[in-house]
């Protein structure tokens, strides 16, 4: 498997692996580390992946097993395989799809906002910037920013009701 093929077919599975790992481990950062380890292992095995029929299932199972190892090490006691959180691939796939749909919906709603409102909403609620940072970036007063935010959110709420 070439590097390009790996990037196109395997790396996009990251969001599924991350969702599964977070559900199993209960910690976002630990899940991110686990997923990265799994990705590296898949990279090392990339020549064998051409023979795998369902690469997504293979990757999910690799992530699942890695999470079980982490849980066992964490518990440091005997922890039978039946006691780990049992999360089906389909359940994860549904959640990932839901995230993608909601994200796409939000971005399409933001695209309909006036430019300034869109920028301020993105900075405040997506990039999680503080008001003073937005004041500096937009060269606006805080009262103007709050007014703009309020109008933007009102528009978004009305859009959602429709």
């Amino acid at each position: 498997m070439t590097t390009e093929t790996f990037k196109n077919r395997i790396i996009p599975l990251q969001c599924h692996l991350q969702m599964l790992a977070e559900r199993m481990l209960g910690d976002e950062m630990e899940a991110e580390d686990a997923v990265q380890e799994v990705m590296i292992r898949l990279w090392e095995q990339r020549d064998k992946l051409d023979n795998v029929v369902n690469i997504k299932s293979y990757a999910m199972q690799s992530a699942r097993l890695r999470c079980i190892d982490i849980i066992r090490a964490r518990k440091a006691t005997s922890y039978t395989i039946k006691e780990y959180p049992d999360i089906a691939d389909e359940e994860v796939a549904e959640e990932v799809e839901l995230v993608e749909r909601r994200s796409a919906l939000l971005h399409s709603m933001l695209d309909d906002l006036p430019e300034k409102q869109r920028q301020i909403v993105k900075m405040r609620y997506l990039e999680e910037k503080e008001i003073p940072q937005i004041e500096q970036a937009m060269k606006m007063s805080s009262s103007n920013i709050y007014t703009t935010l309020s109008r933007a959110m009102q528009t978004l709420r009305e859009r959602l009701k429709v």
Binding site: T3, F6, K7, I11, P12, Q14, C15, Q18, E32, V35, Q36, M39, I40, W43, L98, V99, E100, R101, R102, S103, L105, L106, H107, M109, Y125, L126, E128, M153, L156, R157, L160, K161
Partner: protein
């Protein structure tokens, strides 16, 4: 669920999606790094294989030349080579004793030559006399290197050490310019034709590089 909660869900999903994109970007960069490291390791292995091949080829050439010498006693002794530095000076390199002697007044700096012999690369330091006395060559035969053997000629600066190193089919000419004070800079690199050994010579004034595969020996 009220509208505010729904909006919040949308924002949470968008933030999560953005994080996933950033994570995928990081993994992609990591994969590029791993691929580059793998490629470098493979090149190193290939290089060693090519060196081994070149060494065997050089060994065969040596055997052939010994054999030919045995058949033709008049063939010149090719353990001594004269390398022309420039129009007025030359240096004699004896690959057996690893000594180099100059015919004219080259300034007193160490001269390093890299020669292929069997499977070894020999670095010979010159025996140039620091008193700057010229030494006449005492060979019975001369083997002038023809102009078409010359691959490259570079001007070197005063107090600049020049060294050569070979890898694969390329020779790197490196300089350490003391005027600059530190490090070494790659001056140039050259490829040999086929898999023939390269002979390089450097010293203050000029560095020259010859392809031994193109050398013709003239019996004067």
């Amino acid at each position: 669920m009220n509208t505010n909660d729904k909006i919040e869900e949308l924002f949470e999903a968008a933030k999560r999606h953005e994080k996933d994109m950033q994570r995928q970007q990081r993994i992609s960069e990591l994969v590029d790094q791993l691929a580059a490291e793998e490629s470098a390791t493979n090149k190193h292995t290939k290089r060693r294989a090519i060196w081994a091949t070149m060494g065997i080829a050089a060994g065969i050439l040596l055997m052939v030349s010994i054999g030919l010498r045995a058949l033709h006693p008049d063939m010149p002794d090719n353990t001594k080579h004269i390398v022309a530095l420039n129009n007025s000076s030359s240096i004699v390199i004896d690959s057996t004793s690893h000594r180099a002697e100059t015919t004219t007044d080259i300034s007193s700096s160490s001269v390093k030559t890299a020669l292929h012999k069997d499977m070894e690369i020999l670095i010979a330091e010159s025996a140039i006399d620091d008193s700057n006395t010229a030494t006449e060559p005492t060979l019975e035969h001369e083997f002038p290197i023809q102009d078409n053997n010359l691959i490259a000629e570079n001007e070197t600066q005063e107090n600049e050490e020049v060294s050569v190193a070979t890898t694969e089919k390329k020779v790197y000419v490196r300089t350490s310019n003391r005027l600059v004070g530190n490090g070494s800079q790659q001056r140039s690199h050259h490829s040999s034709s086929e898999n023939t050994p390269l002979m390089a010579f450097s010293g203050t004034g000029t560095s020259v590089l010859y392809d031994l595969g193109k050398i013709t020996f003239n019996n004067h």
